[in-house]
Structures are given as C-alpha cells and as structure tokens.
Symmetry: C2
Subunit: 408 residues, 2 copies
C-alpha cells in the first residue's frame, strides 16, 4: 500500500480518532503482525504530544495455545503484573488505540464456554479498573490487515494481493482512500450529528423492527437517553471518534423491555469463532432462545457470560446502502460489518448516553435501564426489507426506516 | 522450513535447553515477528508440564520510535506494571526462554548513549529483582530468523530464501539439522565437560592472549573459580543448557587484573547497532582506551553504562575451527558469533562459577573478584593466529591454545 496513504490514515486515527493531546499516555493494542503500521501510529502519537506510548501486543496463536493447553483455573488467575497494568490504566486513564487485524478464525476449535468463563472470572478482579476508566479518556478502534484476516475476506487471492485488497477496502470505508480523511471526517461528522438531532427530536419510547426474514421485535427506549453518532466527548470534554469507520446513529435501549424475535443478516465473529444464520427470541428484555446454523454453542456462551450478557445494550441505525455495504465485502469484523447495516448488541450499554450520567454510579445507571455486562457483542439485523417504526411519548407512530433506508 | 525439523528444534529448546519441569512458570521473550515459532515453543512448554506460559513480545521498530520520540526522563521511568512484572519474576522465578531474532541494525541511528543511560536508570529500580533471580531458574537462549536478520546475513538472497537459509544455518549450528538434536546434545555435553575438567585440573592463575593482529593481553583468574561449558545447574539442581548453540568453555576472570591490548576479530552488534574493527586497552583490569573503525561511540556508551561495564566478566575458549566458524557465516548475533571464536565479555561475570557461591551476596562475590554490571557484552578475539598460554599456581606456563586451536 502507498506509504503516503498509510501515513495519512495513521494521522486520521491519531488526530481525528484518538485526538491525542500533549502530555497524555497512549496504549496501543494491536496484533503482533501489525508491527510496521502500529509503530507508525505510535510515532504519530508522540508527534501529537503524547507523553508515552505503551503497546499491548495481541496474538491469537498464543491465546489458542493457552486456551487449549492450560486449565481454566490457571488462566482465570490474574497475575499481579496484569492487575497492575489495569490499575495503571484506571489511575492514569491513557488513550486506548486499538488497531484491529484479528484473524476471524483465530480461536476456531477452542471451547468458547471455557473462554467465556475465564473472561468472567478475570473480570471479577479487573472489572473495577475497567469501570473506573468509563468516559475518562479518548479511545479509537481502526483496522489494518493481517494475513489471516485478508485471506478470510479474499480467499481466492494470493496472500500479498489479499492484503493489498483489504488495505484498499479499509481505506475506502474509512473515507481515507484519497489521503484527505481528516477533512472527509469533518463533513461526515456534520451529517451524522444532523441525523441524530432529528431522531432525538422525536422523543421515542420504543422501536418496532420488522423484516421479510421474520424479524418482529419491539424494543423499549429510556426517556431522555439520546441517539449519538460519530464523535463523542470524554467527561472532561475531549472530542474523539471511537470508531473508524462509523456510519451509525445508536442508542442504549431500556434493559428488560424487548419482546419478539430477531434474525441476524450477517455472520458474527466472536473471540475468533464464526456464528452464522442465527436468531434470538426476547421476552422481558432477555434473549430466552437462540438458534444458529453454525456456532450455536458459541452464541450460547456469549449469553452465559454474566447476567447482562443476554440483554440488549445497543440499537444502531445504519442504512442498507451504506458505503460499507456498497463495497459488497463481508469483512468478518464487527468494526466494518456493524457499519454496513442496522445492528443490535447484546451486553453492556452506553452510560454516556444517559442525561448527566457523570452524576450516577454504574449501578444506579443500570437501575435506570442501561445494561451492564463484561461483554458487548454487536450483530447485524439490517437488510433491504427492514422497516423500523418508532412510537413517541404520545403513542404516535413515526417511520424511522423503510425497506432498509432512512424514512426521513 | 520442514515442520518436523522445527518441531524437533522446539523440543530441543524446551527439553534440553530450558528443561521445563511440571508446575513451572515460563516466560518466553521474543520478537513479534516470531509468533508462529514462539507459539510452537509455548505449546511444547505446556506439554512438558509448564503451569503457565507468559510471552514478553519485543519490537525493535517500537523501541526505535520510543528512543527517537520520547525523552530520556520519560523512558527512564519504570511504570508500576513493568516493575510488578519484574517483581513477579523475582517472586516466582519463572524459566526464561529467549527466542532471539533481533534485527542487527534495529536501532541504527538511535543515540546509543541515551539508550545506555535509560537502561542504567531503569536498573536502579529493577536491578534488585533481576539479582534475586540469579541461578534460581533455568534459562535458554536460542535463535529464529526474522526478515531483517536474514537479509543482514544473506543480503543477496530474496527475503523468503534468506529466511530459509538462516533457518538452515541455525539448525545446523544448533546440532538440530537432522531432527535428533536432543541425542546430539547429550554427546556434545560430554565432550565439553571433559574439556572443562582438563582446564580446571591446571589450577591456572592467569591467561596470556597473543595474536598476529596485535593482541597482547594478560588476564588474572580467581583461585577456585572454574571453567564451565555446556549445561549448568540452578541452585536447586535443575540441569539446563543456557545457550543453543554453545561451543565454549568459559570462566569469570578476576576483576581488576587485566593488562594489555586486545583486537576484536568480528563485528559486535549491540542494541541494534554494529561496531566494527575495534580494540580495547586494559590497565588494572579496566578498559581505559577503545578505538573502532565503525561504531566507536556505541562502544564507548557500553563502557559508560556503570562502573562494572568497563571491566571483564568472561573469558571463553572456542577453537577457530568450531562448527559455527566452519559455516563461514557471520551471523551478526552474539549467540552464534560468540560460539565461532574465543571471546571476552565486558560487564557482569558469572557468580555461579565461584565455589559455594550461594553462601555469598552479590556484593561479597564482587569483592572476591566476580565483576558486577547491568550489561554483559561479548566480543570476539579468536582467529587462527591466536595463542593462549596459561600460568599455574607454581608459575609454570601451560599452552592452552596454539594457532586458534586447543593445545591439548
């Protein structure tokens, strides 16, 4: 890939995405294979004034060895230095930049329930540090191709060509294909904000989803909780773009208020395993029945992680003809695929959408309807037959989506 | 490279090298590029009973960014989680397996003095944890090719062929080229032990080095300190091979007793920078003058690291026609190049060579002549003109090396 375009993409991530400010700590989380691009991003962080950049290397190959060869008990133990790293993050609230290139099949064959239980056990130790970081610092997820991911997306291409093709797709969907991503994102941000303002002006109390695939689901919304799109602000007012790309207007639904069934429209990749053609039936907000043609056990393990894992945490609206969907590429990566279609998420909701959220503890916000969980798993429900109809405070029905496109 | 040979090489490292025992912790330190081989080694560790394997990923590209972009003050600070990781190692004394594939030019252009000062500053915090690990657990260094290292050794080959050629050279010099490394090392161990027993029977008090290149150096030896080769034992008796390959019989000389000049016979790679054609003049044991055609500043930075860095810590005897030298390959990596020829080391000596060393503190051992330093830097002094003559307790001269080969 053209080094000038990569340089501009790194700038987009560091400036528009993470909005690195002088004196801040940065943690870059990335795959070991992405060393060249990650080190470019690190250099940009310093050049924008970062005090120090730490790197948290990830390796699905090494994770696979651990999960296959070590016991649940051993892996559930959080060693002192790992706990200290979480404490450091809670104390110093570094910016988190996640350069995601995970192999969609990276943990294929690993016992998903074991992984889920280990994560839940570890969360008992590290959860308090994670929660202490909520809305304190900027964060940004963006992608870069690893070999395995590129071959999954473009299985018929030789690996080097597949990587090149995935770079092109990443830059295109991130509005960075012409090297002027920072300007493109300023315009894009305005569009998303306008759309959210309109949605918030309706004062909706519920959304009803219906599609030809069989989806028929009503989701309650919390009074006052807003729709947000594009950039966000930390509690101390630093603006950032958490996702590059991002095409969604999203909100956190009312925990306990979802009735009906929803059918997924794209495969879901979770912890290196693929779940295909699945559905979930909700009652009193809880997913009480799930079915999948492939990966049903993995799907069930997602729900069993903790109490909040089987409740919804997000409703996101993305037109079917989004720039990402129009590429026609299935990325096998939530960052891209979630921005290709309307989606829901199981698990943790977004506390920052609650009015004056900084005045409440996480527990209080949960009582008020924002779901809390260790996990947050997006799955796609949008297609070109999806209608979404809102109901406002006065019981009036307002078309939001018609045939997979904005109704207004 | 043939997967069966790599599998057998991983077995050699884990079984013969580290001698992993049930219930032990293991830390694998390796380059991010070596993920595939490192994860194979990790799996072998578990299969030999390791309780848990942690990986400490290294990236010269990221180090370069840090050293170029962040201040000495910032980089000298040891963050709490990094200190905790050192403390964990001091408390739990895991086995250390270092799979070395460092780019010999990885830190080219970086201020070597800055690197040295940062390391010295950090050692003030982490030194006590490092020292607490001395002789407590097995450790093993072995190599695996990264792209940059392979291209440095085989600059005329395309990168994939260079990697293949370096794998072949690594397996050959590690006695692992036929997949029966474990048996080969049993024989090799016997040979080295016999050679060391002979050396120890002489009760030498000094070694005099002389070569056509101009070397004329006399080094004092501490009474009772032994020559060791091949395998070593931890304080609690676990046998291990710290270096794969290893061709040397080595001892720790008497700090303060070295007079004369020595000329290096191969380039030295230090912290990702190359030092070529250099000499060092010693007086009262200290390197008081160094000269180098290339990298003189780097060489001086080595000496300035701390008080012990300009004194000798090792004398190692390797015949000029060693299996490694006979490959005719310059590896630009100490693990291999040091086993190609007689070498000396500046910096830290080997406390485990002192009789009943476990009864003394590091400070006491230093008073008794074992040099102490943060660094230990090997450099090659052997060629086919090198004569080494020992003097025993009675003043009798004993030829040790003649024309670069064992005299006995």
């Amino acid at each position: 890939m053209d080094t000038k375009l990569l340089d501009a993409y790194a700038d987009l991530i560091v400036k528009t995405g993470a909005n690195v400010q002088p004196g801040q700590y940065v943690v870059i989380r990335t795959n070991v294979e992405l060393e060249p691009f990650a080190s470019l991003v690190a250099r940009k962080c310093y050049q924008h004034g970062a005090k120090r950049v730490f790197v948290h290397w990830q390796s699905a190959k090494m994770d696979q060895v651990d999960y296959q060869e070590a016991s649940e008990e051993v892996l559930s133990d959080v060693p002192s230095f790992e706990e200290e790293a979480h404490k450091f993050m809670a104390d110093h609230t570094p910016i988190l930049i996640w350069i995601d290139g995970d192999d969609p099949d990276g943990l294929k064959g690993v016992d998903a329930n074991k992984v889920a239980r280990i994560k839940a056990n570890k969360y008992k130790v590290i959860g308090k540090y994670r929660e202490a970081q909520e809305n304190k610092a900027q964060w940004c997820i963006a992608g870069a191709p690893t070999k395995a991911w590129a071959k999954k997306v473009f299985p018929d291409l030789p690996v080097e060509e597949a990587i090149e093709a995935l770079w092109k797709a990443i830059l295109k969907t991130s509005r960075a294909e012409n090297g002027n991503g920072i300007e493109e994102w300023e315009k894009h941000e305005e569009d998303l904000k306008e759309r959210c303002e309109k949605l918030n002006s309706f004062h909706l109390t519920s959304l009803h989803y219906r599609s030809d695939r069989g989806t028929d689901l009503t989701i309650g919304l919390i009074p006052g909780v807003i729709f947000l799109g594009g950039g966000e602000k930390t509690d101390d007012g630093k603006f950032f773009q958490p996702n590059i790309p991002s095409e969604e207007c999203f909100t956190s639904p009312w925990k306990g208020k979802a009735e009906g069934i929803v059918y997924a429209t794209k495969p879901l990749v979770y912890n290196g395993q693929v779940i295909k053609n699945f559905s979930a039936r909700f009652h009193n907000g809880k997913a009480i029945e799930v079915k999948a043609e492939e990966g049903e056990e993995v799907l069930k393990s997602i729900l069993s992680l903790d109490e909040g894992a089987s409740y919804l945490g997000e409703c996101a609206l993305v037109p079917f003809h989004s720039p990402i969907n129009d590429t026609g590429i299935l990325f096998y990566n939530t960052l891209y695929d979630e921005n290709a279609a309307c989606h829901l998420a199981l698990g943790r909701g977004f506390t920052e959408l609650y009015p004056n959220h900084e005045k409440y503890s996480l527990k209080e916000l949960e009582k008020r309807g924002i779901n809390s969980s260790l996990s947050h798993v997006d799955f796609m429900v949008g297609d070109d037959t999806l209608d979404i109809t809102g109901t406002d405070e006065n019981g009036k029905e307002i078309p939001i989506f018609v045939h997979g496109a904005w109704a207004f």
